[in-house]
Symmetry: C2
Subunit: 479 residues, 2 copies
């Protein structure tokens, strides 16, 4: 195996290079021809489908309905909400010609759909009986990226965007937190990412929001990844798009709206939360293949090949996503390396001698158990438990990594040291100018004000002014 | 119930007006702000999700893998295949500005993805071992429409597009027919549309294809709807995008490619295949709600409301998609009309007297059985069978309608008469000029050369020249 063909740069050597090599070599993505665009290859797309089906089920179970809104939005819509247009203008892709003619009004390719959905909500909502209106959309969006990175920042990405309208602030804020809870659960239980849910500081809010909530995950280089956000818009969009209802008492009222999104960025998060120097490591609940069987059949061995297929059939019957790598032209050793690099949780090796003894050799992608001989008879019944255990192991490992790279700090020296390798919990004055100052000194930004934080007040770690928020803020460098 | 609020124009009076009223009033769609764009509302989107999940399963079961390719394609890609660019140029939407600047090369919003997928196939295919390459994409596409109609012709629509590469013509043609078979099955078994599979005449082929196959359904105004197409591209796209492989003997060869698509247009097809003067009629296997329960609770009746919810719970347990219409402000009569208009296959009415006798009143959306008292105890077990029967009934009804509106004709007078109310099976010379002549005289076009047609030759029904294809051609006016 030539290193330039199959090996990847070590994480410790150059994490960014490791990431960029592994997503291509593992067959997750390819580069699109237009700047910053991405092709999601079948192996990567299956991760997205897994995430999508689990997220979609939770969205529907909580009363939301899917719908679909147009890709192309009149440019003037964006400018109806002042902060929104300011936030998105530099990122827009604009259609100026269509059907062989110049358009009277340019159309933007949606960067997000608050505006067009707001326009429709205004049409559909009449009385308090129409509320809450709980919509979700699965869609592609385009935001022009100057420094694209596969999955993390691409010109086009796939996501779901929830958009809801409510009769009052309480109900809208409950919805905002419900969406955040769903993201927290999906990140933890599916992606084995121990994220921190919290509120963004005013400087980091979504364009047009009253409050933005986030889940923040720690990658293996100590940086943070914002893995999902949920926004309470107050009545800002309702006022801009005239989203009103007649209350029970007959009075005309503005709705309170929310929006929330999770995207293909999550795939980048999974890669950077669990991967190692050998390549990807997928949590079983997301993995395209949970088990790969490599038959060892030097020069062809029909009995072994058939036994491998039979084992796969029984594992699939037990609900395990199983792949048999029967490619005749490649050696077992090559396949072991390849599936390690591609992140398959469990590998089963099956050769003539194993078959004689009624066992297979099992190798987990991580851990120090090495190769274990396991009886073929009981494997299908045992495998779901083995996979669950591996899932738990990944979550515990990521939690331990995060906790050992997060420090509660009260001095600037400690702060600078903490954010050079991970996160700092600290007191901050809350002014944007001080945030900017910290950013230019250390590249760290406030990730969130954790929901679970204890009350704390004191002097700002940077400027010494009285702290804001009544809690510590989590700072880190971020993707 | 005011007619302008709830009633729809009769089909016989003005079919186009009926269609346009019913898709809006039933809550399937709304108009987007940009020309010809469509909002798919939750009730319409659920139909799409049902179709999507059934189609996706069949696509995967036959060995295809889903992937995702960029929305924005460099303009120059389209022009690499001469017929393709000619076919699509007038329909393109073009991004000329992005990130606040004019782009060096404009990007087209994909009207279909042959070109960008061709580019990727060329990168991914190396040897005969990489073939066949069987890809599918679920995506939105944009084709500028001058005369848009909801679902049928919209500037943006949703679809799946399969794209495959093969080592030779036989294998590629097999794939083309496999995709057509999947569409045929989905149309018949899910949408209860008795479509005719056949080949398009050269004048009706997809831009760049060697052969185009179609399934054609008959709408209740006698017009045809092309409900899915499958194309054999020969080596045209392989040559344009350099999609080559090294054969077993070590020779460099061009691939043979296919593409095939089914779209949100199918929803329009379902509406026009089954609807009547009261509104929509949905086949149970596609219907968002298969059963609606209307509790009759004048002034509130807790026992009835609870019994309705309990019945719904038991029906859902039996796998039946059930909705309880518990809106307190509306009368039962209003609800009956509304759910008839919205196409729900089975309505169950449940009042205090029904509850006493342990029955519900069942009303089917179509047929002459009227109201039937059915025992509550046995309803959940019986309902799947009742729904299957209704599904079969719709397919038989649509088949009977189609057959009674299709005639085998040999004279021009018969032809003109047949295509004024339905379809004509006739002999045709196969020249584009004669097709054009028929179209200007009758508005009818060749829908397909049916696969199942018997051998037949003779004089062209229009010009008298010798017939082509060795079979009769199906003509009709089309959407």
């Amino acid at each position: 195996m030539a290193r330039d063909e199959r090996g990847v740069t070590a994480q410790s050597e150059d994490f960014a290079a490791w990431y960029n090599e592994v997503v291509f070599k593992a067959g997750l993505v390819d580069r699109g021809p237009a700047k910053g665009t991405m092709v999601i290859r079948p192996y990567g797309y299956r991760l997205w489908e897994r995430l999508q089906s689990e997220l979609d089920r939770r969205i529907k179970d909580t009363g939301h309905e899917n719908a679909y809104f147009p890709l192309l939005i009149p440019e003037s819509y964006l400018s109806r909400e002042a902060e929104h247009v300011e936030g998105f203008s530099p990122e827009l892709a604009v259609v100026t010609h269509a059907g062989g003619k110049e358009l009277e009004e340019p159309l933007v390719v949606r960067p997000t759909s608050e505006t067009i959905i707001g326009e429709m909500m205004a049409k559909w909502i009449d009385s308090h009986r129409d509320l809450p209106l709980l919509l979700n959309q699965w869609a592609n969006v385009v935001r022009w990226e100057l420094r694209p990175r596969m999955f993390l920042r691409t010109t086009e990405f796939l996501w779901q965007e929830g958009h809801t309208a409510h009769s009052d602030e309480d109900d809208a804020r409950r919805e905002t937190m419900l969406a955040l809870d769903i993201y927290h659960e999906v990140a933890r239980d599916l992606a084995a990412m121990p994220v921190i849910p919290g509120e963004k500081t005013p400087g980091e809010r979504f364009a047009g929001a009253v409050a933005t909530f986030t889940i923040e995950g720690m990658m293996r280089d100590g940086r943070a990844l914002q893995a999902g956000t949920s926004h309470y818009m107050g009545t800002n969009f309702a006022r801009a798009f005239d989203i009103r209802y007649t209350g029970e008492a007959g009075r005309d009222e503005l709705c309170h709206t929310t929006s929330w999104g999770m995207s293909t960025r999550m795939i980048g998060g999974v890669v950077m939360t669990h991967g190692d120097d050998k390549g990807l490591v997928f949590p079983p609940r997301l993995a395209p293949h949970q088990v790969v069987i490599v038959p060892i059949t030097r020069g062809g061995n029909v009995a072994v090949e058939e036994a491998a297929q039979e084992l796969a059939r029984r594992l699939r019957e037990a609900g395990v996503r199983t792949h048999v790598d029967a490619r005749p032209q490649l050696s077992p050793g090559f396949k072991y390396n390849e599936w390690e690099m591609r992140g398959v949780p469990i590998r089963l090796e099956l050769g003539p001698r194993d078959l004689e003894s009624g066992t297979a050799m099992m190798v987990k992608r991580l851990g120090d158990e090495g190769k274990q001989a396991v009886p073929l008879d009981s494997l299908p019944a045992a495998m779901p438990g083995i996979l669950d255990e591996f899932q738990e192991f990944l979550l515990a490992r990521a939690t331990e990594f995060r906790d050992s790279h997060t420090r509660t700090v009260d001095t600037w020296a400690e702060f600078a040291d903490a954010v050079s390798t991970g996160w700092a919990r600290t007191l901050h004055c809350g002014t944007p100018a001080c945030e900017d100052d910290i950013k230019s000194a250390t590249a760290a930004t406030p990730r969130c004000i954790p929901l679970a934080g204890d009350p704390a007040t004191g002097a700002c770690v940077r400027c010494g002014a009285p702290s804001a928020y009544g809690k510590r803020v989590l700072f880190g460098r971020a993707y």
